[in-house]
Point group: C2
Chain length 252, copies 2
């Protein structure tokens, strides 16, 4: 088992690069932190390149990892790679799948149009997983899936359902021609109350940017646009909450 | 108009104390940041003690604030009081209301049992506002309402609906004896699928801690406990998302 104690070690420098979207893209890998995510990665048979842990963690760990995949690192190195304030003592390097999943145009999808808050994106993916949706599509301008905050709020759901990247203006017509009803969401009442629309077996729900909502070009392509009524004085709902209400409405 | 440029000014030191729960309690005041919250505070006729702004902000501002309530501060002072990375240039000191609102035991309530993530608490209050609920009750062990992250995610909803603090184990029997059905939420299926329960005019929904759910003692006091079914592989829903689904279900 390899041991690394120096912050100046070349490997440490390489790993630290995975904290940026650019570094992840170049290396084709990302960092996950903590036992929960690592267990999810193992269960999903993800390609785990290396597992870094402190000596203390290693002694207490009951994780099923081959010794040759483990590197023991100093507390200082682990803390520099972890993004939480009180890291659990384990970080792993996971390969980004090289082949994109194939979109099958059947089932229930959620499409994100420039949703930028990482916590919201992660929470929406976790909710889509919980609600048993077929997949999530990240439109252009959405946050990087392997951002640490997205990973933390997804809680491993990216190992459970396919997440696609694509141009929503191309994908929405494809969905429609495959018989999937596509619903946009609007922040105003220039749309239909979601409660009046009955759940269907296949559906595509489009959610938009926190400040601006779904872009006008996308709203024009949908079959119908929905709104969630506001009964009080709040101006709008948080986008992840709105997603939860709609996703579960269309579960039926 | 008073101007303060030195970080060592006594007032700056007093204001900085409002960044902690202890400091807010002692001073009976809290900080709000940005034009949106300030406008909400003005609209709600909240007791605004002082409005601190940079010279630049003051020149561009169209806020209706009396000059004698404004203090011009340096960029450095403003940045030290603001909690966002790119502050808008205005922070205000708002009095915490001295008298607690009176609970009227009619309508729709959401009760939080030790919900600790400030973003979740703020988002739930914002959703309760949007869904037109009567009030929110923070049980013991819930996060401080005037925490900057709670304030940011509430987006001013605490100016729109009453937020109570109380012991849920005392309040739940009171609610029930006033004819309000009380539903707890469980993370497992030792409860009833929420979709089988019809919305009612009055309701109290109890949501629990992110990790542990609603405490056992509280669950024993409710009329019935509900769960949101999980169709995929996610272990649970984010508590603010679960709240959104249930709040809107009970709107009817």
């Amino acid at each position: 088992m390899e041991k690394i104690a120096s912050m100046k070690n070349q490997k440490v420098k390489q790993w630290k690069k995975l904290q940026t979207a650019k570094g992840r893209k170049e290396a084709g890998a990302y960092l996950i932190e903590g036992t929960h995510l690592l267990k999810e990665a193992i269960k999903a048979d993800a390609h785990i390149q290396e597992v870094l842990m402190t000596e203390t963690f290693h002694q207490q760990s009951d994780l099923q990892i081959e010794e040759r995949d483990i590197i023991i690192v100093s507390q200082e190195i682990l803390a520099s790679l972890a993004q939480t304030e009180t890291p659990q003592g384990v970080v792993a390097i996971v390969r980004i799948p090289e082949t994109a999943p194939i979109l099958e145009y059947r089932g229930k999808y959620i499409l994100l149009d420039q949703v930028q808050d990482p916590g919201n994106v992660g929470t929406i993916i976790r909710t889509a997983d919980a609600a048993g949706y077929t997949g999530v599509i990240l439109g252009e301008g959405s946050v990087d899936l392997y951002n640490d905050k997205v990973l933390r709020s997804m809680q491993g759901s990216h190992f459970h359902l396919p997440i696609y990247r694509g141009d929503l203006q191309e994908l929405i017509p494809e969905m429609k021609s495959n018989g999937i009803p596509v619903y946009g969401t609007e922040l105003n009442e220039a749309a239909v109350d979601y409660r009046t629309v009955s759940p269907t077996g296949a559906v595509a729900l489009v959610l938009g940017n926190e400040g601006n909502g779904v872009s006008k070009k996308v709203l024009e392509l949908t079959d119908q646009n929905l709104y969630i009524p506001i009964f009080g004085e709040a101006e709008s709902l948080n986008v992840a909450v709105a997603a939860g209400i709609l996703l579960y409405h269309f579960v039926g």
